[in-house]
């Protein structure tokens, strides 16, 4: 930015006027800072005391949280604007980006290094144990099971989500009720993984066999209706993994569909027409025109869903808790951190997760730097 704001402040008061105005500003500054500090401090104490009824507490919490941030920015900016222009010019960007950078640093950037350090330590995160946690991470049978399962999630979850998403996007594009179809498939995106867990646990539920037992789970009812024997689907390794992956497909297909659908709409109709005139079937036109055209979007969507499949946690946690050979990396991380209290192993697992997404990070950076001409 080369254009600078014009100096709007009157500079023609005498020297004494200047002094008193500086003094006034300092006094005003002190008053404003203490008032801000007082408001924030009072709110914090009120909220942490947690004595008021919930209906009072919560609006105040919201007001304090949101208002506090707005107030902090306003006051900090006001203070900086009172400083001499050459100082404020340097400081002002700090006000704008400072809080974001500090928070991202505290919550994401620095923890990468802290977890890396802890990953070489013992369960309490104190003594150095060298590579022991990584040896655990790559050789322990529990961990090998999580790797196998995550691989299943990655391969089947991703391919079905993207494949179905692409199928639905392509088919819906040719119908009149497109919006309705797409809304229905997209709806699970609004549902929490915990909620989806309940929904599907009910679909898979199993009451056992015996006289007078009616299966109330949909799948088992269909099976018994067809004359089969009901099964405890979630206790059947290794198939139970696939029954969990179905939930991921149910949740993620909508995402893939929406993004791919908008990409398909971007395919120039002349290209498709040309292919049809050349005598291509719809099937052939799809593979030779549409798919190559939306390749970039396909890769992006696939990458996003791959990352999702690597980080999958809530579904497994709610459905099986990782038992019956359904454990996944993120759940093992949770168990090591908060159930077995082994900070070292947990950190090593987190680092492994990070390394798994590292190619994506590097690619994002490369893409970003390439497209940054106008930055």
């Amino acid at each position: 930015m080369t254009v600078e704001p014009m100096n709007a402040k009157p500079d023609n008061q005498g020297k004494s006027g200047f002094l008193s105005s500086v003094l006034g500003k300092i006094l005003l500054g002190i008053v404003i800072i203490s008032a801000t500090a007082f408001i924030l401090w009072w709110g914090y104490n009120f909220l942490s005391a947690n004595k008021a009824p919930q209906v009072v507490q919560i609006p105040i919490a919201i007001l304090w949280g949101v208002g506090g941030v707005a107030l902090l920015y306003t006051v900090l900016n006001w203070l900086v604007e009172q400083l001499p222009r050459n100082v404020s010019r340097v400081l002002q960007p700090l006000i704008f980006i400072g809080p974001a950078v500090l928070l991202m640093g505290w919550f994401l950037a620095v923890p990468v290094f802290r977890s890396l350090m802890t990953s070489f330590k013992d369960s309490l995160g104190q003594k150095n144990v060298g590579l022991e946690n990584y040896i655990f991470a790559f050789t322990d049978t529990r961990m090998l099971e999580t790797f196998r399962n995550n691989l299943l999630w990655l391969v089947f979850g991703t391919s079905f989500s993207v494949g179905l998403g692409l199928l639905i996007a392509t088919l819906a594009d040719r119908t009149k009720a497109e919006v309705l179809y797409k809304s229905i498939i997209f709806t699970p995106m609004a549902i929490s993984f915990v909620g989806a867990g309940v929904i599907w646990k009910f679909v898979y539920t199993y009451k056992g066999t015996g006289y007078g037992i009616n299966e109330i789970g949909l799948i088992n009812a269909i099976i018994t209706g067809l004359g089969g024997t009901p099964q405890p689907w979630l206790n059947m390794p290794p198939w139970n993994n696939f029954f969990l992956i179905v939930i991921m497909i149910w949740l993620q297909t909508g995402y893939a569909m929406v993004i791919l659908s908008s990409a398909i709409k971007g395919v120039p109709s002349e290209l498709l027409e040309a292919a049809r005139i050349d005598g291509s079937s719809e099937w052939k036109a799809f593979w030779s025109v549409i798919v190559p055209y939306i390749k970039g979007t396909l890769i992006t969507v696939t990458t996003t869903i791959v990352i999702f499949s690597l980080k999958t946690f809530d579904i497994v946690r709610v459905m099986t808790g990782g038992n019956n050979q359904t454990n996944v990396i993120a759940n093992e991380f949770y168990l090591q951190s908060f159930t077995y209290n082994h900070a070292g192993r947990a950190s090593a697992i987190a680092v492994v997760l990070l390394v798994l997404v590292l190619p994506v990070i590097i690619n994002n950076l490369r893409e970003f730097n390439r497209g940054r001409k106008g930055f």
């Binding site: 704001p5 507490q57 919201i62 977890s115 498939i185 929490s192 909620g195 149910w250 697992i349």
Partner: protein, 368 residues
């Protein structure tokens, strides 16, 4: 003729397309419909029959009993209302000529048969709001379980959890947007050393799994007394949400017309004034898209709430539903009602504002 067959083929393929889509949509919807219906059924019904039995269908409905007088010999063939069968056959169940269905109850000595007839049922569904009342309250509740026993236990107090979720989600949506908007403006329009490097860091952090941060941040929270507080979870969601928020808003704010801002600078407006008076109002579409995104993310989050907020007074709905699933694995009438309460608000937000949500998602996917 050729045109006609082309038309017929087109209609056929369109029918097939719609059919496939309808089947897929049904597969997608049926699980949700199942829990929605179950959440309104009395607990006794839920334990006895599947949710689909609320739809009208033919079923044997018990209408009475027959007690055989002591004079009847139960060891030989038994004649009831002119029909004769052995005990074993009666136990299997017999269709009477008048349409009734008789079945021996228990062993020989009971001398009891149940009478039922096939009827259309499912019109009087007996829907109830009791399950919702039961999960919403924190007081003691009663219901009948699968074995016919009355269970008394504490409600899950989902009304409190719902309010807590609001108290978490609203600030955890607005605060990161505000902070990210300031930062995005800074990155897009202000000059300062290290701008490119710092923004590259933002891009790099976009997909960092938050697991990497949980242990270190929890250590900090324990030291700072932030563990289990709303303030703590706002900060956590802000920290974890900022890279995407900053990135999306930067993409939007950096495309605002340069002339507009330059003329404002010439008029003597300060950066702050320009940001508040011009940038924020102009960015409303981008802010709205991200707001919906972040709100859904925070509301539906389980991991962050589990680690930093936990149970007790401040527990959020996802936590409450998950612990209900954990502690009472078979009480479907409660779990389904609870799940539906947890889904209602995000579904409403989502269906109402889907267009903005999709717009934000598309913006985020182009590069991220």
């Amino acid at each position: 003729m050729a045109a006609n067959s082309y038309k017929a083929q087109k209609i056929r393929s369109s029918l097939l397309t719609n059919l496939i889509l309808i089947v897929i949509c049904l597969l997608w919807l049926v699980p949700i419909i199942g829990i929605l219906i179950t959440s309104f059924r009395p607990s006794t019904d839920v334990f006895q029959s599947g949710w689909w039995s609320v739809f009208p269908h033919k079923e044997n409905v018990q209408s009475g009993e027959i007690i055989l007088p002591a004079t009847v010999d139960v060891n030989g063939p038994i004649t009831i209302d002119g029909v004769t069968h052995t005990f074993e056959e009666w136990r299997q169940g017999v269709n009477m000529p008048d349409g009734r269905y008789l079945e021996w109850f228990g062993n020989r000595r009971t001398r009891k048969l149940t009478v039922s007839a096939e009827q259309w049922v499912g019109f009087a569904t007996g829907f109830t709001l009791k399950n919702y009342e039961d999960v919403l309250t924190g007081k003691t509740i009663n219901y009948i379980d699968g074995n016919g026993q009355t269970i008394e236990r504490k409600g899950n107090d989902l009304s409190r959890a719902f309010l807590n979720s609001l108290a978490v989600a609203i600030p955890a949506t607005i605060i990161p947007i505000l902070i990210a908007a300031f930062a995005a403006f800074g990155f897009a329009w202000l000059n300062f050393p290290g701008r490119n490097i710092i923004f590259s860091l933002v891009v790099a952090l976009l997909v960092v799994p938050l697991q990497i941060a949980l242990i270190p941040i929890l250590q900090d929270y324990v030291k700072l007394g932030l563990n289990g507080t709303f303030m703590g979870i706002w900060l956590a969601h802000t920290g974890f949400g900022l890279p995407l928020a900053t990135y999306l808003l930067f993409n939007y704010i950096s495309t605002l017309p340069r002339e507009l801002l330059e003329s404002a600078y010439i008029d003597g407006a300060s950066n702050f004034t320009i940001f508040v008076r011009m940038i924020l109002p102009l960015s409303v579409p981008a802010l709205a898209s991200f707001a919906i995104f972040q709100f859904l993310w925070v509301w539906n989050d389980y991991l962050v709430a589990l680690v930093f907020l936990g149970g007790g007074k401040n527990q959020v709905v996802t936590y409450a539903v998950a612990s209900l699933v954990g502690e009472k694995g078979q009480d479907w009438q409660l779990m389904t009602a609870a799940a539906f309460i947890s889904m209602a608000l995000p579904l409403a937000v989502f269906l109402g504002l889907q267009r903005y949500f999709v717009r934000g998602m598309l913006a985020g996917s182009v590069k991220g």
